[in-house]
């Protein structure tokens, strides 16, 4: 069966604790920051950012939005631009994947991504002495000078496939394939599943009136959906959808 893995992230449940970021980085062997790193040169395949309604005092409202690769379905911006096929939309899972070993580090895909979900390895990955023993065997360490991004913890998908093969099943057991960030979220704000399956809870949630996607007008059909009942968040997120000329900044 052709799957289309995606998420619905409930912004009303996100407390901005950052567990998803850390679980993601640990799962994917992201190195600790080098001394000269800045907030804009680090590797954060999952990045929680703060939103605010821009007011002060008692009227101030804040929320948090986890940003990861949106797994664009249509005209995936990064795929078309890569000069040497290091980026590809996986046919069987719909995952937008990146093979750092093929990448030559031209960073064209990063300029193409409107969600800033791609990250460049500016430094050689280095760990404090001995800490390399704690690396996840399932994920290869990226070398300096290549681009990387979220690939929905595809290693865990491999594990699920292997299990299925031994059990003689054709399909994986959904319970075996849960990305690290989804597993880590203490409030269960991230719903993960197969959007191609009409009965999957994630599909139902994605179709609820409260759910939306970032920069929908650009037409990249992201498979990462967001959900909120708070009007100010919705207004901010839909800024480009509704009033294309009214700029409002946080």
């Amino acid at each position: 069966m052709i799957a289309r893995y995606g998420m619905v992230i409930d912004l009303d449940r996100c407390t901005g604790c950052g567990a998803c970021m850390i679980a993601c980085a640990a799962e994917n062997n992201v190195p600790p920051e080098p001394p000269r790193a800045t907030p804009r040169t680090g590797i954060t395949p999952m990045l929680v950012r703060a939103l605010s309604n821009g007011r002060d005092g008692a009227d101030r409202r804040e929320a948090f939005i986890p940003i990861t690769c949106m797994q664009c379905e249509n005209e995936t911006p990064c795929v078309a631009v890569c000069p040497q096929q290091a980026v590809e939309v996986d046919k069987s899972t719909g995952i937008v994947m990146q093979i750092p070993q093929r990448c030559l580090g031209c960073r064209y895909c990063m300029t193409a991504c409107p969600y800033h979900a791609r990250y460049f390895n500016w430094w050689d990955p280095q760990w404090p002495p001995g800490m390399e023993k704690s690396l996840n065997p399932g994920v290869s360490v990226r070398m300096r000078g290549v681009v990387e991004k979220c690939n929905l913890c595809h290693t865990r998908f491999h594990g699920a496939e292997e299990k299925a093969a031994v059990a003689g099943r054709k399909e994986i057991d959904p319970a075996d394939y849960i990305p690290a960030c989804v597993e880590a979220c203490p409030t269960g704000a991230i719903l993960f599943g197969n959007l191609a399956d009409p009965n999957d809870p994630v599909t139902l949630a994605a179709h609820s009136p409260d759910s939306f996607r970032l920069l929908e007008r650009i037409g990249t059909e992201p498979k990462i959906h967001y959900k909120t009942t708070q009007d100010w968040i919705r207004a901010l997120a839909d800024k480009n959808a509704n009033h294309p000329t009214e700029a409002q900044h946080v």
């Binding site: 804009r40 990448c103 460049f120 920069l215 000329t245 946080v250």
Partner: protein, 420 residues
Amino acid sequence: MSETILLDRRWIARGAERSSTLHFLLWLAPWVFLLLLGIYAAGLCFYYGLNQTNMDNRFAFGMWIFLDLSVIAMGAGAFFTGFLVYILKQNDLKPMLNSAVVIGLTCYSGAVAVLMVDVGQPLRAWFTFWYPNTHSMLTEVTFCISCYLLVLILEYIPVLLRNRQLRKIPSFLIFEHQFHKLVPVLAGVGTFLSFFHQGSLGGLYGVLRGRPFAYRQGFAIWPSTFFLFILSALAVGPSFLMLVVATAEKITGRQLVQQGVFRKLGFISGVLLALYIAAKAVDTYIWLNFTSPALGFGPVDFYSYWPLSSTFLFIATVPLGLFPAILFVVPRTARHRGLLLLAAVLTCGGVLLNRFVMTVQTLALPTLPFDEFLKYTPSWQEVATFGGVIAYGVIVYSLSYRYLPLFEAPKGEDKHVSLG
């Protein structure tokens, strides 16, 4: 010392008057220093990685891409002059040819060198040829530029072989003589390739629907920027060529080409520039009123940030666009050498500004509704590499000028043989 002078002299074309060796060395010295500095900076980037630059995940492209786009536009003079002379038979432009080739060669090789520093894994860059993604504008650029660089080298060979010492080797002379017949073909091929990569350099940004500031609709697979870049490159190429030769004349203090040549180049530049501005205007209108609103972005999203506000758009089009075009075309101003050169300078400035806006402003503007406007200042390593490329160009041109008959136009093919 006297030995070296003799040596040096022996390489200079007979009868051609050149400055003393000492003078020449003094002139070269600062440029060589700049080049070495650039090489050192590039070395740092190779050894430590791109953390030596001030680029980051949000400013994934920086000064270097701006440099590449600019010098390649400037180098357009090479193929265009070749095209004018060999295809359109504008023989009075012949004296410009050799200079054009040298400029083109330096610009393109410089650009490729910087690209190699710019990518994170230069040792794997050849993957693009082995596993090309035919949908990518960058693939198109890579293929065309590398092919055209080859063409330029081939075009440079006959110029090189006219050196006094090299001529002494008969086989070389024969080779050059035969090779000369090939040059028109090369010019044609070069023109074809150049059209494509100049265009795809524009397409590079035009296809980014994720960046509404750069995204343009177009014809077939090519966004409008594809054609705008070709046009602007055609316009700026001759201007830059003119500037270089004029500078050479100033420094050497002798007239190298007839004033008429300049005026002709200027006229061509002007007409194309006018065309370009007109096209650009139409494009901007369509983009602001249809393309970008469709993506949910309006002028305010692009032009409400100081300093990269709409003034840039204005400057690039009027004082650095229309104005020089007029100076070039109107006979009264075109007759005046100073104004002609001024126009050339303005034209180059305009195209530079356009390339800057396309590369840097595109990345500085926010896309997500909760993004901010970003700032970026290149690190000294980036600047030094930039300077190194310029120095490299100056050095190659100076050497070529000194030791090769760039302007002493060949008087008929037979001359070559007899000279041997």
